[in-house]
Symmetry: C3
Subunit: 675 residues, 3 copies
């Protein structure tokens, strides 16, 4: 069984390399510049199906042969991709039944990528043939370090609604339920009289006049994951017939909602991720940190690969902001700090044509006389100095619950408020923790929680009984739990747990909610310390100050818990807003409105962290990112002023300085200390 | 001929009851709690087609038998629904030609309700069979009080564009026009050279590259009403073969634009309506009052049934606000005050699954230990005390013109301003009247207007010659008329009346408009008393103050009328804004801009009411709702402070108090006095 | 070869005339009123296909005969239209393969116009038959002045994606590229592995899951122009078999993005244009002036015909504002000032029915007792007095580059910023020039530039190598060039020119841009005079004041040019913002951010005009429009106060006054002086 790491030593550095877009004389310059920048791994072949199989069954590997030989001669490893994310034009013409169909029934066109049905047997057969030919030819090539199957599964064709997909969906349902009565029970088909008499009557959730059965929608999401996973597994097994090198595919955490990466991670030899900065955000690096933590978590804590990020602007956002000076370096090193053993970019050389020609690259259109190129070379040197961090682990005392099934279900139409969004609360809590300098893992709600002092569940709308019991046991065993509103509402079938809300968590939280009170757009409610909560010292600081909620309030009754905060106004004035339930050796906290980092959430989270005994540095500005990975301490300064951090002892890995007591991180700079 | 009332005594109280969603042991609790709450009528079977006909032609009534028997044993009546709004899954699979097609040509999916073509003969045949089986079985069941055909006709499938519908539309046109020349004349097909040579050339108004013939669109709206009406009539006649109990279907007044309920009302034994609060509004209870008045009006003034409303939040609005304390009671009693002899909810017990699981119910997920349940029990007691109002009538001195055909035509594309919307002006005038404590009827423009001192026509864009003459005769006979801009513009074919605007009303109003001057978004114009209007005492108060218009101004020339207000600025500065024409024994007023309750409309309406001699209470806050129904005076206080009303004598129906002079209505409370 | 002018003398005045919408008795009134207004040309027959060929192959010209005879008897000429923009209903039914299909694959409906596929051979054959019949019948009719082919080509059916169109597109590509390898090279199909093995594999750019090849999109735009041009040419040649009168079709400059009117203009005997005011704008007359200048420019400087404009409001804008008093006159005379030898309206008499019934007309619904009618009569008199301007030319010292291919390519998806829009910068520079009282021509970038002192290129994103050399030669030869950002980026295949931006213009501008820095929404950057720019007197005034940029900044390196302004803040603080490059006998200026008339662009443009020695009047308010056409000086005052212009000598054409020194133009008025 192959496995991580893929290179013999150090961190991997490089990017997607598409030499087929350039005349061969450019290749030699490429390789020379790669060496100048310290590049040691490039991804090749991602879009080469048409190149290597120009007509069905006729292969031409001459170009790829030369590229791989050239890379090898320069000591650069290849991450060789299977080209199946973009079938060739002859395939589309010959197999019209493989075309992608959207939920309105439109047959989507070619002249693009990802335009195929993942359940098509013609696609599967053609994929098997080309992957086998590719693997047979290059299995033993010395340039090869790993296999990169496909590209960004589910990015644009997550769901197909063609007749083939419909038939595959029905087969999947037969498998899952055995008989149609079980399906009816799971989906609650007595609602609107939609009881199925046979599996043959089930259609995918195509556009309908009004709201669809949510059970149908949820299972179609699950089926779609399986449809793509089956494609991946088939390619992986084909490769295995020829090669034992590690096999991966590039995820898009957290920006590909339809793919349940907990399930995907179990299938790859090493987790690889593509992440692009959302430049419209105020602090996009916090979302980046979350992405990296989530990627490490789906990788089970093992090192992972940053397979794509960007040196500057992307091309698909409404306004594609460039990175400011130092931002690329901070971004890359934040990924490494949070567990990546690689720093790969899309792409090596900026394209002159095609849909992505305005996407930044390691080598921009302007060439080497450019800030980006100089930064790329400098980054290569930094990564060389960081070789020692390879393989090291990041540990966390706090876990945040993340479940793609809850993501899907929470955002179906006809929920209590359009302002309820899965990531909204996750990101609010993540930001508060980030600003408190707390590194977090993400967990599936049924995961082993014993490593964590505190588990935070901001968006666990869908929560099965078993998962709820898991959280309960965590608290009883002395752990702590912090839950946000609209969690524990439905089970795995999107069926509401019986009784008062939050059904699955009522007992552990010691509260009962009798009615939701969504707020109007832009409406806010004020919180105040609860009169009933005494002057106990373990109360968070926030209980003494004001806080403001948005989006949500609800009528909470205490059923074991006590109120920490209550609403000062709004639909629930005088009733509990934040509660705490001491249970067994632990405590369970509940927050029934949307606080934000700047409006009470920071204080609340700090109080709960203190209560849970989570260790963290104090007195640092909340713009400093601080992560310990193995014996490397990463200090990343996102502010425009330098920061001095006390108690830092060790060797500066990037700057060679000896630190003994205080380390000053320049404005926008990064210091890494080996302790 | 069966008819109203449907229960032997008192008001009906209850809701939709879907026991098929629950295990049978829950049913007994349901019935016990229904009795506790005073429930005496429940609607059953709405979505039971799949349950009672699980395979085509095979019936299974066992569950429904037990439910009806159980209800009967508890003294609760059943409003038995035909299940035809949600055909079973086998039907959809077996008869693909019956599927609903939207105007872009998409075949809409299942897994939902209302997904069928109303012109499908397969649907008609299957409906006939199941309704006959149902009626045959339960016609004599002692629990039965009435028949509830289908559910919310036209809610999601008002228009179908499939080939079957196209053929049915052509047949309908043949019927309407006899020969195609008459159709061409009506639609004005010389425009853009669209003269039809034969009926076979007509297509439904599917999505086209640019604007469609408006005559085609208008007739397709009419055809669609007839398509659904034909479905209803067929079911009703099937039931009649077995039962003489009252037959109804639930309307959605005023929130189902495609259904012309003047025509529907003529077909039902009792008018039933579903109404849900639009919680995003500032004063949603005014829209509720309008809905209730319009429902009573389409019922010809006879008592009607409130078939569905909600105890709290719904699930389909962007933010589903809960009702505040007392709001459900005020809502329900406002419906009763305005003519409803029932108070029914969707639904009895909140669903655990399906698209509506977050819709409130009489029995919430939290169960009986909840404010909603306690309010439901208290409401049942209130309704019991109100038994004496049953059958009583509401009378009005003011009528507002409402014509669905004008609603449709006014909102076709390519009108002078996108801010022209049918309900915008109707609601503005309704609000001004509501705040003046004036109860209004709604009327079709060709109705008998003799009962009314004042007729208000805020949105009579489409107004046939006969209807215009009807309004003219009303004024000549001593009635009064108040018309807003963009009325009387087109005839029944959406053809502009000849000459200066408003062609159909030019004579009665004594004005001629030569050009429309729509205002920019957010632009306003000021009004001032007209210099030419003398100090006559009958001028409204508003003539002495300022007023502000939005949306519209136009160049009005006096042609018999005199100016009451003129524009102080804007495109028509110095020209008439509000005019009055004394004609015969009455007067006709014209308002050529959009005034609002807070910007001049209140004063204007008050002045016209005074001029017309409409009686109403004075000196009350404009948040108090005051309605007389028979000998019951309803005082509903929507404000947060108590209100004292003088001159109230009689017995307090809800509180048992004896009133002799002044009645104080608590903040948010309701007092009903039998005088 | 027939040609311009079409009338024996004077300017043409009239409009679309659709007598088929009216009973014959109205026609006599029409003709009487036309004579009263001075109308001498009307367009007839635009939508008459169904009228003259009521069944396939059966013609009925009786109505059209009577109309043409009536016009002739009144001395009014006819612009006779072929009716092919709206095929009859029988055609659509008999030839379903000719139906228009949109990019999602929807077959669009009838009941409208323009609903046909331009590549349909059935459409071509039917068009040929009806045009031949029409031309044969009326070629010698004495009323005829010219032929008006079709109506607004490409307005609603610019692109069709049906199978017939797909096949025609492939044939077009075969023609263009010869072999598929050339197509692959042009489109850059190595990107995403989309290399075509055969032309048969190419599909039109229908809706795809993600971004399409931009080369494919660009060629489909070009193909679509050719598809419509082929329709036009076929009709023109059919007419030529019978008649030598001028043939035209009405363009929609600049509001029909898909039609490349540089190519269209080469095909018509006289350029005709439809222009409607965009009433939502603050100063819509500036857009009108731009439209007129662009129309004259595509006409090669020859007089053109204003074929449609409006007397008042249109019907298709969100809010259709009426024209203010005097606005129609100013609009019409501005078109004449800028080269039109006609003033035609849509339409003569306002329709009572159809989609355009709320569109204003020369004769409004209100009839002759209306301001519009009186203004129409007065305008007729004005135009009579302007007969002497007929045929005169307008000359310009400044040219603005306009290339429809750049328009298309610049606005493809996935560009650096959604705020990049072709017309945004063109209009900003045009406004600055207009306010400086400078008349401009528009030019294709490869046109002869020798007549111009200054060429302005605000949006030349797509610029082939040859065109770039043309601009270069212009500067070397002593011309001046002013370029805005994001110009010279790609070649004719949308492939980025090699090296630093702006590749095609790097040398002439003497700058190299290494990275784009798009700004956030609403973000601004300040500019300041560059420290390195000395106190040379030729620097524009703006260098001494502040200026503010939006949308864009970028990192400019000087490579021959020197900095005039630099950024004071933002991503490029301290780096050049505006540069000047003295090259040969001329200069080339570059502006790397979006300045606006009110925020620095006015000053900058004034400085460059001064530097280039462009003559223009000084000291006039920037609301006065001043255009010299031949020996006629047009002074159009768009402000609410009178303006006195010095140095005016000659005869007032409209008012008969003798001007000797100063002319006062009344508020909102127009003075035309023959010098």
């Amino acid at each position: 069984m192959p496995g991580y790491p893929v290179l013999p030593e150090g961190l991997a550095y490089g990017g997607d390399y598409n030499p087929e877009q350039w005349p061969e004389e450019v290749w030699r310059e490429d390789v020379r510049l790669m060496r100048e920048a310290g590049v040691n791994l490039v991804t090749v072949g991602v879009f080469n199906w048409g190149l290597i199989e120009p007509q069905e069954g006729e292969y031409d590997f001459s170009l790829l042969d030369r590229i791989l030989d050239l890379l090898h001669s320069a000591g650069i490893y290849a991450d060789l991709a299977t080209p199946t994310s973009s079938p060739p034009t002859w395939f589309r013409r010959r197999y019209p039944g493989s075309r992608l169909v959207d939920r309105e029934g439109h047959v989507l066109g070619g002249g693009s990528r990802h335009s195929f049905c993942p359940s098509s047997s013609d696609y599967a057969a053609a994929s098997e043939r080309v992957v086998a030919a590719l693997a047979a030819r290059y299995a033993g090539h010395p340039a090869l370090a790993m296999w990169h199957v496909h590209n960004e599964y589910g990015w644009a064709n997550a769901h197909c609604y063609c007749p083939t997909s419909a038939e595959a969906f029905r087969a999947w349902l037969r498998d899952r339920y055995g008989d149609v009565g079980a399906l009816n029970a799971a989906w609650g088909t007595t609602f609107w009289g939609l009881t199925y008499g046979a599996f043959e009557e089930v259609e995918p959730p195509v556009a309908a006049p009004v709201g669809l059965l949510t059970g149908l929608q949820l299972d179609f999401m699950r089926f779609s994951v399986d449809a793509h996973l089956a494609c991946f597994r088939a390619e992986r097994e084909t490769i295995r017939r020829f090669s034992d090198l590690p096999v991966t595919t590039n995820f898009m955490i957290p920006n590909c909602k339809p793919m349940d990466y907990w399930r995907w991670a179990a299938e790859v030899d090493v987790v690889a991720n593509d992440h692009y900065l959302d430049s419209a955000r105020a602090d996009p690096h916090i979302e980046l940190a979350m992405a990296a933590d989530l990627t490490r978590s789906v990788a089970g804590g093992r090192p992972w690969m940053l397979m794509e990020h960007s040196t500057g602007a992307v091309n698909w956002q409404p306004r594609n902001l460039a990175k400011r000076p130092g931002e690329m370096r901070r971004n890359t090193l934040a990924h490494v700090a949070r567990g990546s053993d690689s720093a790969m970019f899309f792409q090596w050389r900026a394209s002159r044509y095609g849909a992505e020609k305005f996407h930044s690259a390691m080598l921009p259109h302007a060439g080497t006389d450019s800030r980006i190129w100089r930064d790329v070379v400098a980054l290569g040197a930094d990564l060389g100095r960081l070789a020692g961090v390879r393989g090291a682990r990041v540990t966390a005392e706090v876990a945040v619950v993340w479940d793609w099934e809850s993501y899907w279900a929470l955002e179906f139409e006809w929920r209590p408020s359009a302002d309820l969004r899965f990531r909204e609360r996750i990101e609010a809590y993540y930001e508060a923790l980030w600003r408190e300098h707390v590194t977090v893992d993400f967990v599936h709600p049924s995961a082993d929680l014993s490593p964590y002092r505190l588990v935070v569940a901001p968006s666990s709308y869908l929560l099965g009984e078993g998962a709820a019991k898991n959280l309960h046991r965590h608290v009883e065993a002395g752990g702590h739990l912090l839950v946000s509103y609209f969690s524990g509402i439905v089970d795995e079938n999107d069926t509401i747990h019986p009784g008062a809300y939050p059904g699955a968590l009522r007992e552990v939280l010691g509260v009962a909610v009798e009615e939701f009170h969504p707020l109007r757009e832009h409406e806010t409610v004020r919180l105040r310390p609860s009169k009933s909560s005494g002057p106990e010292s373990s109360e968070p600081e926030s209980s003494k100050r004001g806080a403001t909620g948005r989006i949500w309030s609800e009528r909470v009754r205490l059923a074991g818990a006590r109120a920490v905060h209550e609403f000062a106004d709004g639909p629930d004035a005088g009733h509990p807003a934040v509660t705490r339930h001491d249970l067994g050796a632990g405590s369970a906290w509940y927050v029934s409105t949307a606080l934000d980092a700047g409006s009470g959430l920071r204080d609340l989270v700090a109080g709960v962290l203190d209560h849970a005994g989570v260790s963290r540095p104090r007195g640092l500005p909340d713009t400093l990112e601080l992560v310990q990975r193995g014996d490397h301490l990463f200090l990343i300064n996102h502010a425009d002023a330098p920061v001095t951090v006390d108690g830092v002892t060790g060797t500066g890995v990037l700057d060679g300085a000896a630190y003994d007591g205080a380390a000053t991180v320049p404005a926008g700079g990064v210091v890494v200390v080996r302790t």
